[in-house]
């Protein structure tokens, strides 16, 4: 790519999104006063706005660019990705939403400590939150680099740097209250940015007689592999296993993502947490109606045998291919702005959660030692924000992209193999012991991380072993559950003393006043 690719409309849209994000954040800053405001928006965010914020935060680069790219590349089998992203919220809703809100904890490490009363488990959970968060930030930064390169020709680190700076300014300055407002706005921004060009493209396509991807590919081409479910690809010879493993990772991984749970603490109570989740499912479902349109129309206007485009850029390139001229440029600018809203919102949410953990578990104790307890909570949070973005930024600059949606899926698989057992057993099982919970985290996290590293670094030759390692959820999650249960049953004397009281707190409905809740 050269500087001839400089697309002024798209750059203007990207600048506009960044500036509006900072402006709304600054407006929120005037509202945020106390530490509680800063972390959890004082738990006074209305369900609708909170649901918009959760959806805005959840719909990342993988959803905005990656899903459409995968559908363009692989066809039907990629439709399971958005289905899994949505179903994850159903699992979260029915199994953990209300109890977790009632636990009153702010992060997963908080919950782990509150439920298991063990600082070792808290530290392990904190380590995992930071690891999963960094892995999830990586594709956001890479996506930003790709998007900015496709509209300006600049090197990829520039786009990543733009996102890093905007996020740090927004998060470090305003905290959760202002971020809630920003995220809520960004959901609607993303939805419009994806939906409006989709409708225009659909209108164009039907007015041109709606040639399908099959006709465009020509009579000789065999597109049935793209069209039909369960296709054997050379690098994925076991489609049934891959489909189920992906679905399992996405369904159980959502509850374990660091930036998802933090959001639930901004609900006023458990019932509000449930109502909010239903709205979230509706909002993200609405959004996921659109990426397949780009995947399919990409096959029409940018058929793979003619166009050589990285799949993650299909969404951004499609309007220009379909409408040469001004209309295409304007649509492309809308999409570029929406894509940046996606990078910014997900990255902000992740950075808030990672910074919360780093600030609470690492920096505050360290600062307290140095300054003899003189340092404030907010200062350590701001410092932690910087730490939280630097590592994945360097990672995004130094490593080759693996594909946005695939990287995100590995983060889901690790979250599903570690936090899903901890949360599900923690909420529903009285006999979970401290060694059991710890062993579950170690086994699930160890296996999933190893599989991820082997897949990313060694890249084994296609075959059953490569498939099993690239899709680790189907065996890591059961292994983690079995380990946690077996070890717990063998160490009944290490069940936390207050388990019954804590479960009463998690499951007692609002309206029944427990004294231990005050």
């Amino acid at each position: 790519m050269t500087n001839d690719d400089f697309d002024a409309f798209s750059v203007a849209a990207i600048v506009l999104v960044c500036v509006v994000t900072l402006a709304v954040g600054a407006f929120g800053l005037r509202l945020s006063r106390t530490t509680s405001d800063f972390y959890v928006a004082s738990r006074l965010v209305s369900p609708t706005r909170n649901a918009s914020a959760i959806s805005g935060e959840y719909l990342s680069a993988a959803s905005f660019l990656g899903v459409a790219g995968l559908i363009y590349e692989r066809g039907f089998d990629s439709l399971w990705f958005p289905v899994g992203y949505t179903s994850g919220y159903v699992v979260l809703l029915v199994l953990v939403a209300a109890p977790l809100r009632r636990s009153g904890a702010y992060t997963i490490p908080d919950f782990a400590e509150m439920r298991m009363q063990s600082s070792a488990i808290r530290r392990m959970a904190a380590l995992l939150v930071v690891g999963i968060g960094w892995l999830y930030l990586l594709p956001q930064f890479q996506g930003a680099g790709l998007a900015l390169r496709s509209v300006t020709g600049w090197p990829t680190w520039v786009g990543a740097a733009v996102v890093v700076v905007t996020v740090v300014l927004g998060v470090a300055a305003g905290g959760m209250r202002s971020i809630t407002l920003v995220q809520a706005m960004q959901y609607w921004l993303k939805l419009c940015a994806l939906a409006i060009p989709a409708f225009v493209l659909l209108w164009l396509w039907t007015s041109q007689g709606a040639p399908g991807p099959l006709e465009v590919a020509g009579p000789d081409a065999d597109l049935s592999a793209w069209y039909e479910p369960l296709t054997n690809f050379p690098d994925d010879p076991y489609p049934l296993y891959s489909t189920y493993s992906t679905l399992l990772a996405l369904c159980l991984g959502t509850m374990g993502l660091p930036h998802v749970l933090v959001r639930f603490y901004t609900n006023p109570d458990g019932r509000a947490a449930r109502r909010t989740t239903v709205v979230v499912i509706g909002l993200i479902g609405l959004f996921y109606l659109f990426p397949p349109i780009y995947g399919v129309l990409g096959r029409v206007y940018l058929p793979p045998h003619l166009a050589e485009i990285p799949v993650d850029q299909i969404v951004l390139e499609l309007p220009k291919a379909a409408f040469p001229g001004l209309t295409g440029q304007i649509l492309a600018a809308i999409l570029a702005g929406g894509a940046f809203a996606a990078f910014l919102s997900t990255a902000s949410g992740l950075v808030i959660s990672i910074a919360g953990v780093i600030g609470q578990d690492v920096l505050r104790p360290a600062l307290a030692r140095v300054t003899a307890g003189d340092s404030g909570v907010i200062q350590s949070f701001r410092l932690a924000t910087v730490v939280a973005v630097v590592v994945p930024f360097l990672g995004s600059v130094l490593t080759a992209p693996l594909g946005l949606a695939r990287t995100v899926n590995l983060a889901f698989a690790i979250a599903a193999s570690t936090f899903a057992p901890l949360l599900l057993l923690g909420v529903w099982w009285r006999r979970l012991s401290v060694p059991g919970a710890f062993a579950g985290l170690v086994v699930g996290g160890g296996l999933a991380t190893t599989a991820t590293i082997v897949t990313v670094v060694l890249r084994p030759d296609p075959g059953w072993l490569a498939t099993v390692l690239a899709q680790p959820a189907a065996w890591c999650i059961p292994a983690a559950f079995v380990t946690a249960v077996v070890v717990s049953l063998r160490t009944p004397d290490r069940i936390p003393v207050g388990t019954a009281k804590i479960l009463a707190r998690l499951h007692t409905p609002e309206g029944v006043e427990l004294q231990s809740l005050r």
């Binding site: 949505t86 159903v90 029915v94 369960l230 049934l240 189920y244 679905l247 499951h507 006043e513 427990l514």
Partner: protein, 130 residues
Amino acid sequence: MRETPSPEGTPERVRVTSSRRTSRAPARRPLETELDEQTVLGEVYLRGLMRAQFRLAATIIAFGVAGLGGLPLFFWLVPDARDLRLFGLPVAWLLIGVLVYPVTVIVAASYVRRATRLESTFTDFVKRLS
């Protein structure tokens, strides 16, 4: 059940109240206290609620596993279904690309209705006994 059982030898319980509780009817406390202190009675009620909630959650998940999770297996076992058309549109794409989302919202909303009803029944029961 009006009195909280207190073990021998322990000092008599002192009720510490804060201003935020003064507006509440004091008669409401006993069964809630049972729940709070995990007396046998409180445990029984709470276990009942948890079991009912878990059964509801399991029903919803079983529905999802059968309905959604069954589809890949169905396509695997019945290859002819993979290219099924309805008015020229591929049925598999319509199911997984479009129809799945409204169904998910309906299922989620019906879960919330049922879960809230379970909790209201529990709350009413506790208050009636108090």
